[in-house]
Symmetry: C2
Subunit: 167 residues, 2 copies
Amino acid sequence: MTAVLDIVKEIKIREEVCAADVERVRSIVASSGFFRPDEVAVAVELVDERLARGSASGYRFVFAEMEGETVGYACYGPIACTVHSYDIFWIAVQHDLRGQGLGKYLLQAVEARIARLGGRRIYIETSTLPQYEPTRHFYLACGYKTECILRDFYAPGDSKMIFVKVL
Amino acid sequence: MTAVLDIVKEIKIREEVCAADVERVRSIVASSGFFRPDEVAVAVELVDERLARGSASGYRFVFAEMEGETVGYACYGPIACTVHSYDIFWIAVQHDLRGQGLGKYLLQAVEARIARLGGRRIYIETSTLPQYEPTRHFYLACGYKTECILRDFYAPGDSKMIFVKVL
């Protein structure tokens, strides 16, 4: 518990996106070891999109910085054709800093920003594979509810679980 | 029934996207009368994206042409981070030509292309609002099943229904 408080106290949130974030995001997402190369590429592509198109890309970011180093991030944005629904596309923490409350801190930073933007429903999706059990546990512990499951969505035997939090 | 066969016999499918399709899509989608201006803008944006980025946009199109005029279209694409799932983002027919089998013909054209690309699951989303009852009936009649409902997704009282067809 002390460790959690300690590390979070040192974190600064940054929202501006810069060119160096392309490699930072690649490194953070890859550090987990359980995303396929094509999935890492998608995470990076959202940073590219943001850099190319600015806020028109629909992608917003929060970066967690500790002693000048970027150690985690989340990417979120409004869902087109909805009045006040938001997606959180990615949330990831440098692997060797997991389990210290950084993810929860990032998630709360995103939720506060979505609330300020007038958002009312936040959606997060993840896989039903066993290796995502900690991820699913994390969302449930942060107040998200399972809304539905799309069977075999990612691949045969790999379904998509959609979580929602109503603000 | 004769009418259905007649009109479909005259249809040519085109897949190339050209600059004039921006206004054609706007006109077809707006002709239905039940999309909000921001929704029409999203439909048009997918054409813009395709023109700007080519196949890297992830958006593929089929256009239904009758006597040289574009009278309907569908937009679909592979879902990132999935092995063989596809989304159909839009399917729309010029309003005064509805009810003659054009939509079904377009949908089958898309399904055949997705199958050739190795796709196995096709997702279509729509609203639970009463005005989308004909749309939902259309998907069910074309062999799609309701997979789940995201409550109040679009707006309070306006939920999202996700349909799937397994090829």
